[in-house]
């Protein structure tokens, strides 16, 4: 059984007078121990809201969460709030995009780390301080004992993200959710952080739910990938399968839009037309239809369902998927 099973997750904002908007519209995926699962998609497609729903960090009012999420055999959405709080930060932890806003600016790093150890692992005093230093060392922060006394603003962006990772792994979580953990960082620092995350997964068997808009990051770290569009998964596959045979027109379009460092020059990009604002409600048909080159009549008669038109385990939500493999030839050696 999977460590985390998400089944038809929906998140709806508004209601009670305000117009309802569905940010997450029936997303299902599983994460196994030691596995890296990616949620990828453009701004506003529901990546962060999905992770906040799983962590139980959405506001209490004005939000309705539907569907099921089972973590380690327990239903997250029906468990009692205090048990859920205990889970959060111990067995399930999260790293946010902006390390600065997720650290308390007026409390030294050391206190922030030891607090977690005190709360979740019952450690005290010197033992907690020692363990905190060990954790900073573990994530590659030099001179950890001195760093513990420093405030977040005294650390560089990359080091703050390491500190956050240290806090997230303080209780050896079995699931780590990382929401754009490297988006705010320079590319050389991003490479360091990604290596660190990979190492945690390999050595500790931590499961990682990796949220990113960067398909390059996905290609490097994720085992399984879910591409989201307007709150729904439109394509899910293993990483090699997905990149070798992108089958949903949106995934196909995304890959054609990205300039690759290793692509021959002079090849022009093939953008997707329009923007995310041009969409239809999933209830009426394919949300991507107004931007899709492969649109046909059937696309707007009800929600397209996930199917496996190409390979077992490679799910695609499209009535006219891309099944020829022209794309595979373009991959340079």
């Amino acid at each position: 059984m999977s460590l985390l099973t998400v089944d038809e997750l929906t998140v709806t904002f508004g209601g009670r007078g305000r117009k309802e908007s569905r940010a997450v519209d029936g997303v299902s995926f599983e994460v196994d121990q030691g596995q890296v699962v990616g949620l990828v998609g453009e701004s506003g497609c529901g990546k962060s809201v999905t992770s906040l729903a799983l962590m139980g960090l959405l506001p209490d009012k004005g939000v309705t969460v539907g569907g099921r999420a089972e973590f380690d055999g327990t239903d997250l959405f029906t468990m009692n709030p205090s048990a859920r709080r205990d889970l959060r930060g111990s067995k399930m932890a999260m790293i946010f995009q902006d390390p600065l806003s997720s650290l308390n600016p007026v409390v030294p790093i050391g206190v922030q780390v030891t607090e977690i150890l005190e709360r979740h692992r019952g450690m005290k005093g010197e033992a907690a301080r020692k363990e905190a230093a060990h954790l900073l060392d573990r994530v590659g922060i030099p001179d950890p004992t001195r760093r513990l006394k420093e405030y977040p603003h005294q650390l560089s962006g990359g080091m703050r993200q390491r500190a956050l990772i240290a806090m997230a792994v303080a209780c050896a979580p079995s699931l780590l959710i990382a929401d754009e953990p490297t988006t705010a960082l320079d590319v050389t620092i991003q490479a360091q952080i990604l290596e660190l995350l990979k190492e945690l997964v390999d050595q500790e068997g931590t499961a990682l739910l990796m949220i990113t808009h960067d398909l390059g990051v996905v290609a490097g770290i994720c085992d399984q990938v879910n591409v989201l569009y307007a709150g729904k998964a439109v394509e899910s596959a293993g990483r090699r399968e997905l990149f070798a045979h992108p089958t949903h027109p949106y995934t196909h379009g995304l890959l054609g839009s990205i300039p690759r460092l290793d692509a021959p020059r002079g090849e022009s990009l093939k953008p997707i037309r329009g923007s995310i604002n041009d969409r239809v409600a999933w209830a009426d048909g394919c949300a991507f239809a107004p931007r899709c080159d492969r649109y046909e009549m059937g696309c707007l008669t009800g929600t397209p369902q996930l199917a496996e038109p190409r390979a077992a385990g490679h799910q695609v939500r499209c009535v006219n998927p891309v099944l020829d493999d022209a794309k595979a030839e373009e991959v340079p050696a």
Binding site: E42, S101, L155, M159, A219, P259, L261, S275, N277
Partner: protein, 417 residues
Amino acid sequence: MSLLELDGVKVHFPIKKGVLFDRTVGHVYAVDGVSLKVEAGETYGLVGESGCGKTTLGRSVLRLVDITEGSVVLDGTDLAKLPNEEMRRFRRRLQMVFQDPLGSLNPRQNIESILSEGMVAHGIGKNQEERREKIKAILERVGLPSNALARYPHEFSGGQRQRIGIARALVLEPDVIICDEPVSALDVSIQAQVVNLLEELQEELGLTYLVIAHDLAVVRHISDVIGVMYLGSLVEEAPSDTLYAEPKHPYTKALMSAVPVPDPEVEDRRERILLTGDLPSPANPPTGCRFHTRCPWAQAEKCATERPELKDVGGGHRVACHYTAEIASGELAPTRPTGIEAVTETEDALVKPAEGEAEVPAALLPADSTTKPDAPAVKEKVPAAAETPGDPAADAVAKDQDAATPEASGKGPAGTD
């Protein structure tokens, strides 16, 4: 002669202290001696990490910041020495497109008013009728609906706003457009639209671009020539294809190896040169080669003492490193010992763990440090050598300036709620 020539451009920002007297206690060496040439009709791409001085260099060309030293010659005229009044006239020929389209458009002005403003200032168009006609034509060209004229910036999507920014530059018929991170705030599908638009406009109108961006893949895609900046100076410059095929400067090599490619086959095979540490502070740059504190090939001789000049190595390829030839030939191996072999290894390192992996503590990944030399670059799971403590005082990269406005409340890190 090139259309735009920068020679020895320096921009040093004074660091002031004191309440009554503004004492200058030091300088931020944001741009520290950059010479480059931009050819008419071509695109020069400037890349480098946050805080390396890209934006400041772009602004110096427009004289939006004071040039401490050096010259900026546009079409034979040295802008650095021009009196303000004349500079104002020259500004029409040099336009800038900004990263944050919303932040650079006045929310209370409609599109017609935003686009007319510059035209009025530079005396383009006899009357508003004439200006409106021209604006309409350009809006259509950049792919905006004609009813855009009377609308306000917030009514447009991010990609559309960037088109407005481009239209605002175009109505003035500039020779050179400086694009500062023109697509980095946009979603990838929209990025491609804007990149293509810039390319088409260049072809049609013969525009010259100076494109500033941190995304090397985007820069490589649109540039004819690329300059790589590190801590205020160029470390390497080459035609786009040459730079990709044969990066010579250690920093360029590291930067390229860090750029993720959306292809698992490539990602799994790649030799990643992981740099340790962050950019040192431009207020207190390292001596000698500014990269020596992080350079995997740094040598005991010269690197820490002599500043390498940007030297032509043939084929329009310029490199600022004392050991360019020796590194290219493989004669010099990376100097930082542990695990560095892995950097030049290929598949082998992936299948069998590098030697010594067992004895080294698992967690010693390369660390962020600041100005001190520290652990060597490593790749994959090969542990680095022991680190040297970093210098905490030296964080002045642009990102860290955000430190002034942290969201104090809000979400704590996971687990502290």
